[in-house]
Amino acid sequence: MSGGTYYVPEQSKLPIFASFGLFLTVFGAANWMNGNSSGPWLFFAGGLTFAAVLWNWFSIVISENMAGLNSPQLKRSYVIGMGWFIFSEVMFFAAFFGALFYIRALALPWLAGEGDGVDNALLWPGFANEWPLMTTPDMAANGENAIQKGPEAAMSWPGFGGLFSWLPFWNTVVLLTSSVTVHFAHTAIKNNNRKQFNIMLGVTVLLGFIFLFLQAEEYIHAYHELGLTLQSGIYGTTFFMLTGFHGAHVTMGTIMLLVMWLRSVLKGHFKPDDNFGFEAASWYWHFVDVVWVGLFFVVYVFG
């Protein structure tokens, strides 16, 4: 609530083009999924438009800041905006975590005949509750003729003996380390240590790429060796949707941090007292890290 004039930008073409790009992207995606041959073209044209608008938008915001237009009050608006954006992401993941909890704690036991509801044994005779769900209700009732089949193997906890050869463990190590390195990078820029900042942020980006590489390896392993796919009943569904959306967010976070690293290395951006572009990306990074810790326990260790 400080005084002084608040910078209200002039007219801008960014929002209308951003809306158009976003619309074209989803319109193309919907056409693509419905088997319309123009779908992919619209989708990629929209995606490119949207990316170009975002590029321009961020560069304008950066140059406004460097031109000294941003008062401390305006900067607070960006800080508040980023904080609430991350909260919205938390709630998005909450929907999928909630779905997993509901399935495991209530839906599957009920499907197996527990509780005082309808006796599902009539619908799915022989179905037994287990997690990971290897035998779907369809398989229990229809055997070989089942359409919804479970996986052949799951990603579960191998016991302490197999810990070091268990890929999710190394993924956790990589991501937790990266959260520490990005914190060191933040400390470095606050102490005006540019070299340390570039090294630590570079290491973070590298760790992000390593995580994504390992995650891709895990998916390939799941699809080719474990018979575990997105279509593998509710286990495959929740496994790939939770880890997949997390992976998509790690990808976004890595790109964000990479851009910040390039801004610092190539352009010398960020000052000890003015680095919110970087700090926002680091918040986002800590957020995807926390989500991973949740996933590690819920999807892997106790999954």
């Binding site: 809306s19 608006s77 839906a107």
Partner: protein, 516 residues
């Protein structure tokens, strides 16, 4: 900073001005209100008599679905955001919204989203026909192909809502004039702050549930398919975890508007300001723990039925506090009955009727009788039409002179009110009776025994629709002419918005005012 609006169409396309964006939101909402209204009139025309007269059953289902979606996401929500855009900066003494470009982005997503949603009416297989609540598997296994477009339309309008809400929170937290502490903010600002929190908390959950649908439809997952270990009831849980707070998103700003209008025309300060704030927060909190009261008949365990029944009934307490405060504000006031006040008083009375039928529905064993009947339709239309729509209308009449500098014609305003008031009661009150008698909702044909009530409802619906054409006329007539409004417009109204000239200049409060 340029001091006047730009010329031509680019003023609206490229604007960063909260007043321009607020006007666009309001006009967009008005257009959607008429579109959704036409869908409603198709429904009422078909239901005028039993039997199938005018439309095919599948098209009837598309009408009920599109009516709900357009009214909720296209009419009510953008109208409140439009009022927020216009009024929040002016009420807290801010030069604009905190993030003006993102503000315009939030708006311009909506025309694209609704163009895409409306275009489904012309697609093979028709528009979504599974009800606005789009329960799986109706919306997945048995859905028309246009469901994919529906899903992506929901995605982008959700993004619009989240960005709008972030902007509102940043504005209220960061942009208040010196001296305006939280407990001095006008209630419209308070209710919107809490509404914005609800939006950011639940719109991502809506995005999540439509994403699950998308994956089930196109990518072979089994979220809502019991054959693979999923559960269609999971859809309802996730949907209503969004859906119930959504109901309050559509009513909390209404509380704020009415809390501004009643003191002005009762010529007394609002009774119980602090309790209004706490009651709003309590309602928002409770909205997160009552969602399964929409699902009493799906086979919840008895503990679930009881918890959600009692939690739902608790909402009556803070809501009762609010109604009491509005009545106490009017008590012994020097009341006059201009159009905004008429709509506000009707709000208090009719919203309370909707609240009471809500209490009836909250009783789990009784709900087994009411579920999916016209009683439910009567209930939620009594909270949404005299609740959300009347409060928006009241707000428009109340602030329109400030926006355009002209007074509306009081006689025409009152005519609009009485036609709308009579129309809505004739439409929706009989639905209580047809519902209690057992008439199911979302069915194009019905038993002869319901014929009288339905005919009355249909007559009322067309009367209500006609009244809204009068509203459109009143708004346009006021914008292009009419008696000049004074800066205060009303007699000693409270709030910073009345300290600026009428019409409000393009930029207000470029240097923050000192709030007493």
């Amino acid at each position: 900073m340029a001091h006047g609006p730009a010329k031509g169409i680019t003023r609206w396309l490229y604007t960063t001005n909260h007043k321009d964006i607020g006007s666009m939101y309001l006009w967009f909402s008005f257009a959607m209100f008429f579109l959704g209204g036409i869908f409603a009139l198709v429904i009422r025309a078909e239901l005028f008599q039993p039997g199938l007269q005018i439309v095919e059953p599948n098209f009837f289902n598309q009408m009920t679905t599109m009516h709900g979606l357009v009214m909720v996401f296209g009419a009510v929500m953008p109208a409140f955001v439009g009022l927020a855009n216009w009024m929040i900066p002016m009420q807290i003494g801010a030069p604009d919204m905190a993030l003006p470009r993102m503000n315009n982005w939030s708006f311009w997503i909506l025309p694209f989203a609704f163009a895409m949603l409306s275009s489904t009416l012309f697609m093979d297989g028709g528009a979504p026909n599974f009800g606005w609540t789009f329960y799986a598997p109706l919306s997945t296994t048995y859905a028309p192909p246009s469901v994919t477009f529906f899903i992506f339309a929901i995605h982008i309008m959700g993004a619009s809502s989240i960005m709008g809400a972030i902007n509102i929170i940043a504005t209220i937290v960061n942009m208040r004039a010196p001296g305006m502490t939280y407990m001095k903010m006008p209630l419209f600002v308070w209710t919107w702050l809490i509404t914005a929190f609800l939006l950011i908390a639940v719109m991502p959950v809506l995005a999540g549930v439509v994403t699950m649908m998308l994956m089930d439809i196109h990518f072979g997952t089994s979220f809502f398919d019991a054959a693979g270990g999923g559960d269609p009831v999971l859809f309802q849980h996730v949907f209503w975890f969004f859906g119930h707070p959504e109901v309050y998103i559509m009513i909390l700003p209404a509380f704020g508007i009415v809390s501004a209008i009643i003191p002005t025309f009762a010529r007394k300060p609002l009774f119980g300001y602090a309790s209004m704030v706490y009651a709003t927060a309590a309602i928002a909190f409770l909205s997160f723990v009552v969602w399964a009261h929409h699902m009493f008949t799906v086979g919840l365990p008895i503990a679930g039925e009881l918890f959600f029944m009692w939690a739902t009934m608790l909402i009556a307490v803070p809501t009762g506090v609010k109604v009491f405060n509005w009545v106490a504000t009017m008590f012994k006031g020097a009341m006059t009955f201009e159009t905004p006040m008429l709509f506000s008083i009707a709000f208090v009375i009719l919203f309370t009727i909707g609240g009471f039928s809500g209490l009836m529905l909250a009783i789990a064993p009784a709900d087994f009788q009411y579920h999916d009947t016209y009683f439910v339709v009567a209930h939620f239309h009594y909270v949404l039409v005299p609740g959300a729509i009347f409060s928006i209308t009241a707000g428009v009449y109340y602030w329109l002179p400030k926006w355009c500098g002209n007074m509306y014609n009081e006689t025409m305003g009152k005519l609009h009110f009485w036609l709308a008031f009579i129309g809505l009661n004739v439409t929706f009150f009989p639905m209580h009776f047809s519902g209690l008698a057992g008439m199911p909702r979302r069915i194009p044909d019905y038993n002869m025994m319901f014929a009288d009530w339905n005919m009355i409802s249909s007559v009322g619906a067309f009367l209500f629709g006609a009244a809204q054409v009068l509203f459109l006329y009143n708004v346009i007539a006021t914008i292009i002419g009419g008696k000049k409004a004074t800066d205060e417009v009303w007699e000693n109204p409270e709030g910073l918005e009345w300290t600026v000239p009428s019409p409000a200049p393009y930029h207000t409060f470029e240097t923050p005012p000192e709030y007493k």
